[in-house]
């Protein structure tokens, strides 16, 4: 078949989208060839910032993988920059010599970063922020931490600054104008943003004009016109872009700022089109993805014989900095013919401003709470009169008509044509219809079929709400299971953020991570309390009201509300005096039941709560401490008699068990931790179904972990063999600390190990001595505060209120 030849110069997001549309409308219509100056496939440039900050990897942001080009029969020349277009011969020639004839040509060369031509601008270490090469160069320099200077506080500059900060660099942003992001934000929102970024450790200098970039062999700093000198090993120029139109100009095509196109995206040559950031349509060059995708759709339509017309776009902006919500759209300059509605809540950090003209919204700036951004944007684009709802307009869509505050109500109320995904121009109707028509149930499927939320991802919440409205309970929005109903975050995210954001109290966690309830619930509070105890052993004050009753009163609650008490018997060893003391306590307090436990100790059951301190006092006198049989923490270390008595014993298993228990008692862990030490492979201490176990052999100590003998039954895995008892202790402690730092609350060690991977655990504990040492030292540090016997503390009066009634009413006397 002799198909028409379509050649595309550039392999960015706009031509990628155009081809998708084209292949859907008219598969096989053209023989397609793409020249890409970058040595890559089509990836999502909007997501460069998350790659820079480490929140995503390159693989996560690929739009079209190699398969896609193969499946659609597209010839992709990578690393091939086109040097010339011959409009007479209708060919393009790449700098590497490849020549391709065309019937139709699309120029999609994108834009070039504007580099201020100050002295020193060519020094190594001066970078732009346009493509993955730039990001890789930045990451390379960021490896040595150090200082970075970003010139330009627009969208890209600030995202670059945030990313570099996340990579551990010291970042200063210099900006020529008095306020940051002045094209998208009014001064009030700019102030809030500047404050939020400063709190994140990014220094911002406004009204700063760059005089020169300093350095001899490479960048060493920046000099400002006011004489200030800033040190830095990297300078990012993010002062703007200009359309890459030289190739078109050289070929004699009409070029103004960009390559001039009509409403059908056609240039002055009827066989040549321009698309993306290199094009200029009705005097405007667009730099955001949404309008480019709109025009891509028009071009695809034209290429298969349609007559679609592009009418220009109203754009909106969101900043992709984790934890900062910012939305701006339209025109928000002040003017005599304009009115404005403003809402400020300084404490909550919320600022909303709507600019009205002729009773219609023409501009919106939202900071802090951007939930209603798409609603305002929709009202703006459709030019809806707002007279009727003016009084409550600023409070958002859910306040209209006195309806409920169900967050989904706002989305449910949106009209079918309301735009949900700004990047890809996907409206609500398309998402809802596609979900129903194709039976979609996951976010990834919706992304795949509709493109909604597939670019910058900031509309993900809206798309999920739509799925939830459309599918009801059949939709599970989170691949990651949230900790509980109080948050959407999973355990791993919460743990990571506690450390990353240095959150050191439960209220701080709930505030910063936007808990949905005022003081959590019985699921999340004990988990948060554990994470804080574990991560900040020095600083955090244990919140007893967030502990389960057993850990609050240091005994085990029974079905009738009485308690059971288990003192420690180190390694399962006891003596006549200990047994005598237990017998006396049982008699004195008329304890109804005494039982030998599976962990080699003695349980006294049926003790009234008010008797607990007195029981502990008597046990304490005999030398007993709490066995922590109630704790998500170290429980027992079961042992056999080893070389002390056994004729098969290879090592002193009892001694090692006692040593481990004395070293580790009192430590809190994500779930209970039970251990065993067997003196020989006959394994009388049943160490191979414990959380952590040791099998002694002639040549040393085989350390086991991740066994289970409860709801699940599972033999242990071998961590490794060590030669000495000292090593055995060190490795076990390090393993425990690794589990303490990474485990989800109530996740036993075998489940954690399955999640993390056995090899990774072996690598960190057995072969990475530095890691192992670090874990060991952090455990030792936390033990300094943890090893306090809770029973003797309470005998001496701590938490007295826990153990007696507040008041005993004598009602007979009142009659």
């Amino acid at each position: 078949m002799n198909r028409e030849k379509l050649v595309i110069i550039g392999n960015g997001m706009a031509p990628g989208r155009m081809l998708e549309e084209l292949f859907e409308k008219a598969p096989g219509l053209y023989d397609v060839t793409i020249f890409n100056a970058e040595p890559r496939v089509n990836y999502d440039r909007i997501m460069l910032s998350p790659v820079l900050s480490g929140e995503k990897a390159y693989d996560d942001i690929i739009i079209h993988g190699d398969d896609w080009y193969r499946d659609h029969g597209v010839t992709l020349h990578r690393g091939a920059r086109v040097g010339a277009i011959d409009r007479v011969a209708k060919t393009v020639t790449a700098e590497n010599g490849i020549v391709a004839p065309y019937d139709r040509l699309v120029i999609a060369t994108g834009s070039l970063p504007f580099i201020i031509p100050v002295p020193g601008h060519q020094l190594p270490g001066v970078l732009a922020y346009r493509d993955l090469d730039d990001v890789e160069k930045m990451l390379d320099i960021a490896r040595n931490k150090g200082k970075a200077i970003v010139i330009g506080a627009g969208l890209l500059g600030l995202e670059a600054a945030y990313g570099l900060k996340r990579q551990g660099m010291d970042v200063t942003v210099v900006h020529l104008m008095p306020t940051i992001m002045e094209r998208q934000l009014d001064p009030a929102a700019a102030y809030l943003l500047e404050k939020a970024l400063t709190e994140r450790g990014i220094a911002i200098i406004t009204k700063a004009d760059t005089k020169a970039i300093l350095g001899t062999d490479r960048v060493e700093g920046v000099e400002l016109k006011d004489g200030r000198i800033l040190d830095g090993e990297m300078v990012i120029m993010a002062v703007g872009i200009r359309p890459a139109s030289a190739l078109a100009r050289d070929a004699g095509i009409a070029v103004n700022r960009g390559i001039v196109v009509d409403d059908g995206m056609m240039t002055s040559d009827p066989n040549i089109y321009a698309l993306g950031e290199c094009a200029e349509h009705r005097g405007t060059c667009y730099g955001l993805v949404a309008p480019l995708y709109e025009s891509a759709r028009i071009l695809a339509d034209r290429l298969c014989g349609g007559n679609g017309e592009y009418g220009g776009s109203v754009t909106n902006t969101k900043l992709k900095v984790t934890g900062i919500n910012l939305f701006s759209a339209g025109d928000f300059a002040e003017g005599d013919d304009r009115e404005e509605i403003v809402l400020r809540d300084a404490t909550a950090g919320v600022y909303k401003r709507l600019v009205l003209k002729n009773d219609r919204i023409i501009g919106a700036v939202l900071y802090g709470d951007t939930t209603d951004g798409s609603w305002y944007f929709d009202l703006m684009k459709r030019s809806v009169p707002v007279t009727e709802m003016r009084d409550t307009l600023i409070f958002g869509q859910s306040y209209q008509g006195g309806t409920t505050l169900d967050p989904r109500a706002a989305v449910a109320a949106l009209p079918a044509e309301a735009e949900i995904c700004g990047c890809n121009g996907v409206c609500k109707g398309k998402i809802v219809d596609t979900i129903a028509a194709r039976g979609l149930t996951t976010l990834d499927e919706v992304r795949a079929h509709t493109k909604a939320s597939a670019s910058c991802g900031s509309c993900t919440g809206l798309v999920e709400q739509l799925m939830s409205i459309t599918l009801g309970d059949a939709f599970n929005p989170h691949a990651v299971k949230p900790m509980c109903g109080c948050t959407d975050l999973g355990h791993s995210d919460v743990r990571r953020l506690i450390v990353a954001k240095q959150l050191k109290t439960i209220p701080a966690v709930m505030q910063e991570l936007e808990w949905k309830t005022s003081c959590g619930c019985a699921k999340c509070r004990p988990a948060l309390n554990y994470y804080l105890v574990c991560d900040w052993p020095d600083d955090y004050a244990d919140d007893y009201q967030s502990r389960f009753i057993n850990e609050r009163v240091h005994a085990n609650i029974q079905k009738d509300g009485t308690y059971s008490v288990v003192p420690r018997m180190w390694g399962g060893m006891t003596s006549s005096s200990e047994l005598r003391a237990i017998a006396d306590v049982v008699d004195k307090f008329e304890i109804p039941a005494v039982k030998v436990t599976g962990g080699q100790r003695i349980d006294m059951l049926g003790i009234r709560k008010e008797d607990l301190p007195a029981v502990w006092a008597d046990l304490g006198k005999a030398g007993f401490v709490s066995g922590q049989a109630y704790a998500k923490g170290l429980r027992t270390v079961k042992t056999c008699v080893g070389t002390d008595w056994c004729r098969f014993g290879t090592q002193d298993s009892t001694g090692l068990g006692i040593r481990i228990e004395k070293f580790m008692w009192g430590s809190w862990t994500p779930a209970k931790l039970k251990m065993g030490v067997s003196g020989c492979p006959r394994n009388c201490a049943e160490a191979t179904c414990k959380d952590i176990g040791v099998i002694c052999v002639d040549s040393g100590f085989e350390i086991h972990f991740a066994g289970a003998a409860g709801l699940d039954i599972k033999g242990t895995e071998v961590l490794g063999l060590v030669r000495t008892e000292d090593e055995a202790l060190e490795y076990i402690v390090a393993l425990t600390q690794m589990y303490r730092e990474q485990g989800h609350y109530l996740e036993r060690i075998y489940k954690w190990a399955k999640r993390i991977g056995l090899d990774e655990i072996r690598r960190q504990i057995m072969t990475d001595a530095e890691k192992r040492q670090g874990y060991f030292e952090r455990f030792v540090l936390s033990q300094k505060v943890a090893q306090v016997d809770p029973w003797s503390e309470r005998v001496s009066g701590k938490d007295k209120h826990e153990f007696m009634p507040m008041s005993e009413l004598k009602l007979e006397a009142a009659e």
Binding site: C521, Q545, F548, P805, M806, L809, E815
Partner: protein, 118 residues
């Protein structure tokens, strides 16, 4: 009806109860759990979960509810009713603050309980 059913008893000071916690008041025939929430509101329920009679005073207090320590039923401090899918109700009693003193009435405020008590 006993006269004491209509009286207010001073059972202690609000500072006797930890925030997000509870203390018990015994009457000889019954134990009442008096709760103090994070925002210093007080509530009183019979210390018995409607499920298996677990001592609610020992539970974790969050917002306006307590989670029973035995099987994690969540009980409303205000109404004594089980929340979510669980069904059941425990007796709730009027309680109020006068300065920092806690005054408790033993006249149950649950509709069914009032009838039962008469």
């Amino acid at each position: 009806m006993n006269t004491h059913m209509n009286s207010w008893f001073d059972v202690g000071s609000i500072s006797d109860i930890p925030r997000r916690g509870a203390r018990c008041v015994t009457t000889g025939t019954m134990t009442v759990a008096v709760f103090r929430t994070a925002d210093d509101k007080v509530f009183a329920l019979e210390d018995k979960c409607p499920h298996r009679k677990g001592p609610l005073s020992q539970g974790i207090v969050h917002d306006g509810c307590v989670t029973c320590p035995l099987h994690n039923w969540v009980i409303s401090l205000e109404t004594g009713r089980a929340q979510g899918a669980d069904e059941g109700e425990t007796l709730s009693f009027p309680v109020r603050l006068e300065g920092d003193r806690i005054l408790l009435s033993l006249m149950p405020q649950t509709a069914e309980a009032v009838i039962a008590a008469e």
